[in-house]
Amino acid sequence: MPVRPLNVGVIVKLEPDFSEGNVSYNPDGTLNRAETKNILGPHSAAATLAAFYCKVKYDAKVAIGTMGPPIANQALRQAQLISNADELHLYSDRIFAGADTLATAEVLRLGVSRMNKGLGADIVISGHRASDGETGQTGPQTAWKLSYPFIGNVIDFHIDQEGRSIYAKRFISLYGFYDVIEEIQAPLPVFISADPSYKPSFNTISERLSVARNLNEARNKADNFEKYLQVYNSEGLGADPRYVGLPGSPTIVYKVEKIPKAKAKRRVEFVDGNDTVQLDMVAKKLLQLMTEAPIK
């Protein structure tokens, strides 16, 4: 009996390219967004790779969605190049602007239900977080609103298609303690976030050949990515205006200010290793730093 095909949804985000030579800062040290190029963020790319894994391994249907201004379709194109996605969704509406994570999650919840010809997704994948101040909350909140169980920081997973369940390994860092890898089983549908270190592994020749085929296909698709692009506005998603954008956002940015203590440029002071008096000064300095430091 043929197994039910696997539908995958991916949520990605367009982010500023922080690499040297591409990023621009304003005189006050803030990011100059107008002058800085945007790219598919590295965390989103990890999520997209996880979808590609499903594509190669389970011949899954993949839909990729993002909420953002029309320019965000570049992120979708990049994501298609990585994943050979079948559908690209852009959720774009003036009234979505200014949304915090809860209001964003509301849009993405509606978006996921439109994915894969309206069938939604058996697995939704997001990145761990974004580099530009996004908080890593959108994924889990979207999951909660979809009533999908959430598994975070997934570093490896496979799907039991007949048993309709996922086996995933997740990475937990307990700051100041050791790190832990947990193996988790959950029935589909499920929402996972890909750990930044996630890398799919394909370990047979036939899978590797399929990778090459899929990447070829992806290149061809991405050349005409508009053909795969679906743009939804608020109405198209059936969004309740009270739950999206600014009205649906509990939080606001109250103020932005410079963090006062900028790290001083190091100016080296030479000390003669034979001079006991100078060494004593160093010892005092070390103790002072050790006892005064509030951090850590």
Binding site: G133, G152, L174, E183, K255, G273
Partner: protein, 411 residues
């Protein structure tokens, strides 16, 4: 609720709300019954904030620690000693390992439970709806848990916070107040450093007081960066209320199973120590003896020990097992190893290869001990002690011990 559009009415509305949202709930993380450091740090900050709060508003709101797990009763007293007024714990075998679904449900049950509220504050609980404030840790688990809990409680959340202030603010906001100035009392100002490290963004979680979209958003919550706040000094005499919460668990909630759990790293802790002492090939003349000097020095400073990459290749013939245990890849600092940012970084006999510098350049204050004053490290440090470690370290160690003794005597 209120939907007040004018100042006076809004203030009246606030009076009513006081009873609906109370206390600061801190979601505790622990590992096998031992609280992870950030949990105690959160309690410390919560204690400081609520002490001020209660003085300022002449109230008696509590710091409520919430702890879930299997066999965690013993933890409760400890949390009280570290600043909690109340500990609500849910003890159940199915809570042995964290799963987002079940933990989220139970934390929300606790947060919204009127009986719990009654036990916390018997006389002021009749209007209780939800916590006023909530803290989570900004680690992998807390980050996700905070998100789903707040999605369920339908309120706002700020992540990765490193400074907190409670104050009364007059806000004029296009949506929140329909452009009118409105006073928001007891507002939690949540400061988060932005990605560039240049800026602090202050996040507020505010009710919509605009009648067109009126809605309440509580609790005001955030996740807190580990290692930022100081725990309070443990007080063995502190007393508090311990509440045994009976969670409602359905079969559906148990559909996520933790099949196995593996600890993957040794306990070398570069994150929470203030000082890291690293050594490199400068120990070569007499590896065993020189390492002893370094170890004594590190001990005097209560520092963790790191190494440069070449050391992990064990370039010296030594049978000293103790030394060998300090020549392992897990201790390497640099691009091929760990990236660290202690308050003080001390590099002994390390020339300062680019790969190494990349691993420590975020450190607060950098001291280098090296006989070669042309070593690349000279441009990346605050103090450069030109000298052989054999001569410098014994003096430094002795001085530090001496001053340390004086500090202790004074205290």
């Amino acid at each position: 609720m209120s939907g007040a559009t004018q100042n006076s009415e809004a203030s009246v509305g606030n009076l009513a709300r006081i009873e609906s949202y109370q206390h600061l709930y801190v979601v505790i993380e622990h590992e096998e019954g031992v609280p992870v450091p950030v949990s105690l740090e959160m309690l410390g900050e919560a204690r400081r904030l609520m002490d001020n709060f209660n003085v300022r508003y002449s109230s008696n709101e509590k710091v409520v620690a919430v702890v879930l797990g299997d066999n965690v009763r013993h933890l409760c007293q400890e949390l009280i000693r570290f600043g909690a007024d109340v500990v609500v714990y849910a003890d159940n075998h199915s809570l042995k390992h964290y799963t987002n679904l079940l933990y989220t449900k139970i934390i929300c049950q606790i947060a919204e439970d009127k009986n719990v509220a009654r036990s916390i504050s018997p006389n002021r609980s009749e209007n209780y709806k939800k916590p006023r404030y909530m803290f989570f840790s900004a680690d992998n688990t807390g980050r996700h848990l905070s998100s789903t809990v707040l999605a369920q409680l339908e309120s706002g959340l700020a992540s990765d916070i490193n400074k907190l202030v409670i104050s009364d603010l007059e806000i004029r906001h296009e949506h929140k107040t329909k452009g009118q100035p409105v006073k928001f009392e007891k507002t939690l100002e949540m400061y988060r450093p932005d990605f560039s490290g240049f800026l602090w963004t202050t996040i507020l979680c505010l009710d919509n007081r605009n009648p067109a979209i009126a809605r309440e958003y509580h609790p005001q919550s955030c996740s807190i960066i580990p290692g930022v706040f100081e725990p309070i000094t443990k007080e063995d005499q502190r007393t508090g209320t311990i509440i045994d919460f009976e969670p409602q668990i359905s079969g559906e909630d148990l559909r996520i199973k933790v099949l196995s759990r593996n600890i993957i790293k040794s306990t070398i802790d570069f994150e929470s120590c203030k000082i890291i002492v690293s050594y490199g090939r400068g120990i070569r003349d007499s590896p065993e003896d020189n390492f002893k000097l370094i170890e004594q020095f590190a001990k005097a400073l209560n520092a963790e020990i790191g190494i440069s990459l070449p050391i992990s290749k064990r370039p010296y013939q030594t049978k000293d097992q103790h030394l060998l245990s300090y020549m392992i890849p897990e201790r390497v600092i640099g691009t091929s190893g760990r990236k660290v940012s202690p308050v003080v970084y001390i590099a002994i006999g390390i020339s300062g290869a680019v790969q190494h510098l990349a691993g420590m350049k975020e450190s607060g204050f950098v001291v280098v001990i090296n006989p070669d004053s042309d070593a690349a490290f000279r441009d990346e440090c605050d103090i450069f002690i030109k000298g052989r470690l054999e001569e410098v370290l014994p003096i430094l160690t002795e001085q530090i011990k001496k001053h340390m003794l004086m500090i202790e005597k004074r205290a």
